[in-house]
C-alpha cells in the first residue's frame, strides 16, 4: 500500500494519468484547473512524456486527436468556457472513434461566467457537447481519491469502447486537498489494431476519419456506434448508494453536491426522516437501473445540483416519472449548504415540493 498523502484534486488526477501511462498532455490554462497543466509541465519532461501548452484550446484538442490516432494515451484538461472551445474537436473524436481523456473542472457559466465551482455543464457533457449524434463516457468524482481512481477507469473505458471519456469535476474537487493513495497500476489498456502506427509495408493502411459524404454510409457508422453505446448503457452504469436500505426519500447528487447532501441526509436521519442518496458516478451512462429500483421503494426524489436543474431530467426519465422529483439547487458558483438540502428533504418528507 502506498502512503496516503495530501493532494489537490487537480494534482491527483494529473499524477494518476501519468501512472495510467499517459505521456501526452495538451492544454491551455484556465482557472480552476491550471494545477493540472502546472503539474504536467513539471513531471512530463522528467519521464520522457510530452507536455505542450498549445496556442489555444482548439489547438490543444486537435493535438489530442493526433496523439490518440497514433494509439497513445492522451489527455487534455480545461474548465467550462475552454471545453466549449474544445467541443468541435471532441465531436470529431467521437466521429473518429478515438479514445482520450478530457477533464472539465467546471466553473459557473454561461459565457465567461465566473471561476467558482459549478455543475452547469451537465447537459453539455452528457448530451455530447459538440454537433452530431454521439455520447461521451462521463465520470463524476466526488473525492480527491476518486479524481485519481476515475482517471484509470476513464482511460480503460475509453479504449475499450473507442470513445472519448470526460472526467466531469468542479472547482471544489480540483482545488480541495484530501488524503489520496496512489498505487501504481497498469490499468487495462485495450489493443489498438486501428491505430496509425505505420504499416512497415506489412498491412493495409489504417484510416481514421469522420467524413462520410454518402448518407447511407454515415447512417451505418452512426448506427454501429449506437450499438456500442447500448452495450455501454447495459454494462457500465456506476453509482454509490448511501443509507438507502430503508430510504423513503432518495436524494440524487454527484460530485461536490453529493458531499453536501451526505451531511443533510445524516441530519435528516437524526430527525427520524428516512432519507438516502444515490450518487451517480457515471453520468453517461446514467445509472438508470439503480434509480429505477429506488423508485419501487422511495416516495419521492430530490435532485441536488449546482445548476438550474439539468440532471433532474435524467432522474425523471430513469424513474419514468413514477414518483415526484423536486429540485434543490444553487448556481453561478454558489454551493447549496447542508441546511438548504435538509430543508428540501423536510419538505419532501411532508409531501410537498
Amino acid at each position: 500500500m502506498a502512503e496516503k498523502i495530501l493532494m489537490k484534486g487537480n494534482e491527483a488526477l494529473a499524477e494518476a494519468a501519468i501512472m495510467a501511462g499517459c505521456r501526452h498532455y495538451f492544454g491551455y490554462p484556465i482557472t480552476p484547473q491550471t494545477e493540472v497543466a502546472a503539474y504536467m509541465s513539471r513531471r512530463m519532461p522528467k519521464i520522457g512524456g510530452c507536455f505542450l501548452q498549445a496556442e489555444s484550446e482548439i489547438a490543444a484538442i486537435n493535438m489530442v486527436i493526433g496523439a490518440a490516432a497514433a494509439g497513445k494515451r492522451a489527455m487534455t484538461s480545461s474548465s467550462s468556457p475552454g471545453i466549449s472551445l474544445k467541443s468541435e474537436g471532441i465531436s470529431y473524436m467521437a466521429g473518429c472513434d478515438l479514445p482520450a481523456l478530457i477533464v472539465n473542472v467546471q466553473r459557473g457559466g454561461p459565457g465567461l461566467g465566473g471561476i467558482q465551482p459549478s455543475q452547469s455543464d451537465y447537459f453539455q457533457a452528457t448530451r455530447g457537447g459538440g454537433h452530431g449524434d454521439y455520447h461521451l463516457l462521463v465520470l463524476a468524482p466526488s473525492s480527491v481519491q476518486e479524481m485519481a481512481d476515475l482517471v484509470f477507469k476513464g482511460f480503460d473505458l475509453a479504449e475499450k469502447y473507442r470513445m472519448p471519456c470526460m472526467l466531469l469535476a468542479d472547482g471544489t474537487m480540483g482545488q480541495m486537498m484530501e488524503p489520496v493513495e496512489l498505487t501504481e497500476r497498469t490499468g487495462d489498456p485495450a489493443p489498438k489494431p486501428w491505430a496509425l502506427t505505420g504499416t512497415e509495408g506489412k498491412r493495409r493502411p489504417n484510416i481514421i476519419n469522420s467524413l462520410a459524404l454518402e448518407p447511407a454510409e454515415l447512417e451505418k457508422w452512426n448506427e454501429e456506434r449506437f450499438q456500442r453505446y447500448d452495450i455501454v448503457r447495459e454494462k457500465e452504469q456506476m453509482s454509490e448508494s448511501y443509507r438507502m436500505e430503508d430510504a423513503e426519500i432518495c436524494v440524487v447528487a454527484f460530485g461536490i453536491a453529493a458531499r453536501v447532501a451526505q451531511n443533510a441526509i445524516d441530519a435528516a436521519r437524526e430527525k427520524g426522516i428516512k432519507a438516502g442518496m444515490i450518487r451517480p458516478i457515471t453520468l453517461w451512462p446514467f445509472p438508470e437501473k439503480a434509480l429505477k429500483a429506488a423508485a419501487e421503494q422511495c416516495k419521492s426524489f430530490i435532485s441536488v445540483e449546482l445548476n438550474m436543474g439539468q440532471m433532474i431530467e435524467d432522474v425523471r426519465l430513469a424513474i419514468e416519472c413514477k414518483r415526484p422529483v423536486s429540485l434543490c439547487c444553487r448556481t453561478g458558483g454558489m454551493i447549496p449548504s447542508p441546511d438548504e438540502v435538509l430543508a428540501a428533504i423536510e419538505r419532501a418528507a411532508e409531501g410537498g415540493k
Binding site: L6, M176, I256, Q262, S337, D339
Partner: protein, 180 residues
C-alpha cells in the same frame, strides 16, 4: 466519533492556506479523515482568503466549513464575516495586533493573541499564522502536540528546509503564550 471544523481567514499572504495544510497533515498523520479547501481566485492576491479544514473520525461529507468549531480570524473583515456563523461553544481566535475589537458573542470561547506583533518582535516577518496555530493547539487540543514536528516536516518543502525549525518555534511561541 468526533469532527472538528476549522475556518482560518485573513488577508492573502498571511499564510492562511499553509496553516490549514499543516493542520490537515497533522490530522492525516494521526490516521484521521481530513479535508482542506481553499478559497481561490482574485482574493488570494491581496484580498481576503480563507481555508476550510475538517478533521474527523468519520468520513468527511461537505468539505465546506460554514459553521466553524474553531475560527481563526487574522483580520477584522474575517471576524466580522464569520463570528456569527460559529455555533455556540465554538472557539474564536483573534490576532489582536490586527483586529481592534473584541468578539461580541458571549456563547463562544474567545482568545486573543498579538501574533503579528510577536512575530515581528522575534524578527520573523510572516510566522503569525503558526504562532496563532500554536495558541489554537494549546487551548483546544485540536491536534496532539507530538504531531507538530512530523506535520511540519510534511508541509515545509525541501527548498525551504531552513524554515522548518522557525515554523516549529513559532508554534511553540503560540503554545507558551499567556493571555492577560
Amino acid at each position: 466519533m468526533s469532527t472538528t471544523q476549522v475556518l482560518i481567514a485573513g488577508f492573502g499572504g498571511q499564510g492562511i492556506l499553509f496553516a490549514g495544510k499543516f493542520l490537515a497533515y497533522a490530522g492525516l498523520l494521526q490516521g484521521r479523515n481530513v479535508s482542506w479547501l481553499p478559497s481561490y481566485g482574485p482574493e488570494m492576491r491581496g484580498g481576503t482568503a480563507n481555508c476550510s479544514v475538517i478533521l474527523s473520525d468519520a468520513q468527511v461529507g461537505s468539505p465546506i466549513v460554514g459553521h466553524p468549531d474553531i475560527l481563526i480570524a487574522m483580520n477584522l473583515p474575517s471576524l466580522d464575516k464569520y463570528e456569527n456563523e460559529a455555533p455556540a461553544g465554538a472557539s474564536i481566535f483573534v490576532d489582536s495586533s490586527l483586529v481592534n475589537r473584541k468578539v461580541r458573542r458571549t456563547d463562544v470561547n474567545a482568545y486573543y493573541i498579538p501574533a503579528t506583533q510577536i512575530s515581528n518582535d522575534q524578527g520573523y516577518q510572516t510566522l503569525a499564522n503558526m504562532i496563532l496555530m500554536g495558541h489554537v493547539i494549546a487551548k483546544t487540543g485540536v491536534i496532539p502536540q507530538d504531531m507538530i514536528a512530523p506535520a511540519m516536516k510534511k508541509v515545509v518543502s525541501a527548498r525551504h528546509a531552513d524554515l522548518l525549525d522557525k515554523n516549529i518555534e513559532a508554534v511553540r511561541l503560540g503554545i507558551d503564550y499567556k493571555e492577560e
